[in-house]
Symmetry: C2
Subunit: 115 residues, 2 copies
DNA sequence: CGCACATATTGATGAACGTCAATATTGGGG
DNA sequence: CCCCAATATTGACGTTCATCAATATGTGCG
């Protein structure tokens, strides 16, 4: 899409303040996608386990037991976190090791303050 | 619930690392609730408009036009943001003014780094 | 009082989500 | 080569969610 978000002049009827530069629709969609990945308690726990794991990485077998979920469900959540750019997936042999993408959490935190 | 998350000794079959202290289920639920409120592009835009509004506050009429949503839908989103502790609602006369809860965004950002 | 305006609530509808059971895929070892 | 273990994918099911139209609530004004 080529159209930029327009800032219309506010109709100063009574209470309405003049329109103010704010987040565009496309930007808002991108940011919401990341927060959507964080909007599930089990995914937060997965991130926490990976972050605090020895060596900074954990395989699926490390992650299935602490959560009370089946293996396919854990795999599903991990895929969402990888797609959101929060986790890195590396396959070594039969096992898949997950680690935090460096700086991803900090960048995501920055999305909040730069609203 | 009174049970604490147990850390079982890891079964050192092959890949699995010893269990590591991580986010409990209850804590994860609380944090996910806040991110759930942020996991919608229109709500992010609402926060952005309120934050950048002159005086730090905006009424519903300021928020209905820029988004392409009906008034009830905007009201619904605002309620979610208020319930999440991100927005403050103050009714003055006929109008309802919304402002950021001081420090709420920073605190939420902190939830990410303290995983 | 009663109208007009700003906001909130309700009910309904379609889409997205979390979960599991079943199955497929991939890689290592006898 | 075939079996087994680890992970991924598929399909189905119930729940939650975003949205709107319609309606209710509440507040200032004449």
């Amino acid at each position: 899409m080529t159209s930029l978000p327009l800032l219309e002049p506010a109709t100063d009827t009574a209470c309405c303040a003049p329109a103010v530069p704010s987040l565009g629709a496309a930007e808002a969609n991108d940011r919401a996608a990341v927060f959507k990945a964080l909007a599930d308690p089990n995914r937060l726990r997965l991130l926490s386990i990976v972050k605090n794991a020895q060596g900074g990485e954990a395989c699926v077998c490390d992650l299935t037991d602490p959560l009370d979920l089946t293996q396919p469900t854990v795999s599903h959540h991990l895929k969402i976190l990888v797609d959101a750019g929060l986790l890195h997936r590396e396959k070594r042999g039969t096992w898949a090791y997950f680690s935090l993408v460096p700086g991803a959490l900090e960048r995501t935190a920055g999305l909040l303050e730069s609203l």
